[in-house]
């Protein structure tokens, strides 16, 4: 009698515990992200109820066959192997039973008997044998299927803590369960259990859960907590923290053009720890690192999914870069309009552009003006210079810079690609430095591809002392956002090996920079390090020449002039950073946060030689607010805080104008 069933049970001795399984029965379809070996062990050790096949329904009056029929049918391909075996067990035993029609007192079927007095799990609403887990705190039933689903919330960049999973019933933290096994044993860990098994004892073996008087502490030996079956929670938390730290060390490189800040790139968080010594070392190691990039750049026209396959960090950078590219396009459009306006006006004035240029920056010699052509002159001069440039000038520009800057010509767009090329010429670092930051090509940059290949070649062959921004420019010109990411990959280090700008820019912008993170800490995003926006002073000479005293006047005159000229309905300070935010936002709120927020990290900027985004102390609350806004509403691009950024941009503009 009992023999047949026990023999069939013995055949699968290794798979079951007390007629339940070691693996889930498909109640949940999501990922099994708990530690299954640990769970199996706990089941075998009778510290956690086995995964029983749940009953859809249960009635005490049912006979064994009805119970077995009510068992949830077995799912799913992915657990097919174990499941099939269990099914086989069931079928074998029931078929062997059915061969013996026998008396009315047909032997009980233990696999049905275990369901006597079944309990409904309050979460999945399915019925399980009464030997079910109970919450350690409030003694509520919970099946193992549901228990393994309960876990800590995944830490996120905005919530950098991992809180205990709370009890679903009483919300007490550090959820855990206690399991009282039946007094008999079957299957695994049941040495001689088959002998012990008896039909007489079976009904008595149905445990009735008696309400506990006390709750168990989370560290009681009887308790299995959610953390025990997911021992990796700490590692996950660490991973997120590390990612956030990387992100926080990323800097947005802004460049001033006229009265605005143009984002030209981001540093990779990975290169964040450059100390002065390391920076020096990096100078020596430039070849090595560019070698790595060279390899990656070699693939840059390859399939996009290559980059999708990269780490999330890279993907974020990619999205950032795309946002910047679009923003630059916008800016270029603006500049072009402005240039047209200016051209009209200047034509009317009949005075040569040269005259105006010298008016504007009297102290700056012609070459200097060209070198950072865009700084003293508003947008137009940049564009004009580019317009005159010939595509063939990619080798090296011998054209007198002054002629560029003085021959106004608004038709800049189509010559954009030149920028990246001339930026590659090793001998003209400062040239390329500023040039490369000129806006990228028109929306569909594909036609520029050949040039970008040139760029790559040039880049690979370039000597030490990389022109930092030419990378970006080349990348941007070369169409793919992926390329853009690649371009940025090492900007941080490459920039920091350019020694000249260091003292200059830090002095120029330090006066206007502030450190809002403290204020940010008051917000609910307290734990989130805020990325820094760095303002690049592209030209060492100009930066060095900046004198606080001479600042104010040219700046104000310039900006007012600009606003007057542009005849735009928008305020004089266009919302570039905001544009960025909007673009970046869909993909990553972090990214957008990074773009529009700033934080002071004087140490960092001092080392790399770039001043920070000069958010003045007064403006920091708004910035913080903005930051919070971005984080809080993850899909939002902010359009609300334009003015703050604009103001900040204006502030930076000041030192630039002093030269």
């Amino acid at each position: 009698m009992g023999n047949s069933s026990s023999s069939s049970g013995r055949g699968h001795h290794d798979d079951t515990v007390d007629y339940g399984s070691l693996v889930p029965q498909g109640v949940y379809t999501g990922p099994r992200d708990w530690n299954q070996p640990v769970v199996s062990q706990l089941i075998v050790a009778r510290r956690l109820a086995p995964f029983y096949r749940p009953l859809e329904d249960y009635d005490d009056s049912w006979d064994d066959d009805q119970i077995l029929a009510a068992r949830k049918e077995l799912p799913d391909p992915d657990s097919a192997d174990t499941v099939t075996r269990i099914e086989a067990t069931a079928m074998a035993s029931s078929s062997s039973k059915s061969k013996r029609p026998g008396s009315l007192k047909e032997p009980v079927k233990p696999e049905a008997q275990v369901y006597r007095g079944a309990v409904e799990c309050p979460i999945c609403f399915l019925y399980y044998p009464p030997n079910i887990n109970h919450s350690r705190c409030c003694d509520q039933a919970i099946c193992t299927e549901c228990f393994v689903q309960i876990k800590r919330n995944e830490p996120t960049a905005t919530h950098l803590v991992s809180e205990y999973a709370a009890c679903p019933y009483c919300v007490q933290e550090n959820f855990g369960v206690v399991y009282t096994p039946p007094p008999w044993r079957a299957g695994l860990g049941s040495d001689g259990a088959n002998g012990i098994w008896s039909e007489q004892r079976e009904p008595a073996a149905v445990p009735t859960h008696k309400r506990r008087q006390k709750s168990f502490g989370a560290d009681s030996p009887e308790v299995v907590t959610t953390d025990q079956i997911r021992p990796d929670w700490e590692a996950k938390l660490e991973a997120v923290r590390a990612a956030v730290a990387r992100r926080a060390n990323r800097r947005i490189i802004m460049r001033q053009v006229g009265d605005r800040l143009i984002p030209v790139g981001i540093t990779s968080g990975r290169v964040h720890t450059l100390s002065p010594e390391e920076a020096a070392a990096a100078g020596a190691a430039v070849e090595g690192s560019s070698g790595r990039r060279g390899r990656r750049r070699g693939q840059q026209n390859g399939a996009f999914d290559q980059y999708v396959g990269m780490s999330g960090q890279d993907l974020e950078e990619l999205m950032l870069m795309e946002a910047m590219r679009l923003s630059l396009l916008d800016h270029e459009e603006y500049q072009r309009k402005e240039a047209e306006e200016k051209k009209k006006r200047e034509a009317a004035e009949a005075a040569a552009a040269a005259g105006e240029g010298s008016d504007r920056a009297p102290a700056v010699p012609a070459e200097a003006e060209c070198t950072d052509h865009s700084a003293p002159g508003p947008g137009p001069s940049t564009l004009e210079a580019r317009a005159t440039l010939h595509p063939s000038s990619s080798s090296n520009l011998s054209t007198p810079p002054s002629s560029h800057s003085r021959s106004p010509s608004p038709a800049a767009q189509r010559h954009n690609k030149v920028d990246s090329q001339d930026s590659l010429s090793p001998g003209r670092k400062s040239w390329s430095f500023s040039r490369s930051r000129t806006p990228p090509p028109p929306p569909n940059p594909v036609p520029n591809l050949p040039l970008s290949e040139d760029n790559q070649a040039a880049w690979r062959n370039r000597s030490a002392g990389p022109p930092a921004f030419s990378t970006l420019s080349a990348a941007l010109t070369s169409t793919s956002t992926a390329a853009a990411v690649l371009g940025t990959a090492e900007r941080g280090s490459s920039r920091s090996v350019t020694p000249e700008p260091v003292p200059a820019s830090s002095t120029t912008s330090s006066s206007t920079s502030a450190a809002p993170p403290a204020a940010a800490g008051a917000q609910n995003t307290a734990d989130v390090p805020i990325p820094t926006i760095t303002v690049v002073n592209n030209d060492p000479r100009n930066g060095g020449r900046a004198t606080p005293g001479g600042v104010a006047q040219p700046a104000s005159s310039q900006s007012s002039e600009d606003s007057a000229d542009s005849s735009l309905s928008s305020p004089p300070l266009p919302p570039l950073p905001t544009e960025l935010a909007r673009w970046a936002a869909p993909g990553s709120s972090e990214a957008s946060g990074a773009l529009v927020t700033s934080s002071g990290s004087g140490e960092q900027s001092g080392q790399t030689g770039y001043g920070q985004f000069p958010s003045s102390p007064e403006s920091s609350p708004e910035l913080v607010d903005l930051h919070e806004h971005l984080l809080a509403h993850s899909d939002s691009g902010s359009s609300t805080k334009v003015d703050d950024d604009g103001r900040a941009g204006a502030a930076t503009y000041v030192p630039e104008m002093t030269r």
């Binding site: 949940y28 309050p122 999945c124 309960i150 905005t158 899909d635």
Partner: protein, 152 residues
């Protein structure tokens, strides 16, 4: 049998149909297990006397482990109640729909909670950041990371 979500919802539905909804709550549509609609009325003396609002539940396959996406319907001439925790796009800032969701809660439990949230309202007003939020809000309120104010 489908996922736990469908199974549990089937059972919740059966219960609703056999036992009925609490007073003021009416099941409007539960034709599938992805979206249910209820109307909610606040009974008795309240700011919302005589007003009925439509509440929408969206379920994913991980329900009830993951919370349903619950919001007031604001299309077809329907409006969200004016309440300090209800945005004009129908999104609701309530902790039980987010971090304090528990799989033990049910659809009806959520309805009752929101009903009492309305009932306890002292002053009809929108959240302070309503415009800002609504302008940029995701379609699914579950994607919003609300900051819950405890003013209970």
């Amino acid at each position: 049998m489908g996922s736990v979500s469908a199974r549990r919802l089937a059972k919740e539905l059966r219960e609703i149909q056999s036992e009925g909804c609490p007073v003021g709550i009416t099941l409007v549509d539960a034709s599938d297990f992805s979206k249910w609609l209820f109307t909610i009325e606040v009974m008795g003396n309240s700011q919302y006397q005589g007003e009925a609002y439509t509440l929408q539940f969206r379920f994913d396959a991980q329900y009830p482990i993951s919370s349903p996406a619950v919001q007031f319907v604001v299309t077809d001439g329907k409006e969200a109640p004016v309440h300090p925790h209800v945005y004009s796009n129908g999104h609701i800032c309530a902790s039980i729909l987010g971090s304090e969701w528990s799989p033990v809660l049910s659809v009806i439990a959520v309805c009752v909670t929101l009903q009492s949230m309305l009932a306890s309202c002292k002053k009809k007003e929108r959240p302070a950041d309503n415009d800002r939020y609504v302008r940029t809000a995701p379609d699914n309120p579950k994607k919003t990371l609300f900051h819950y104010d405890d003013d209970t």
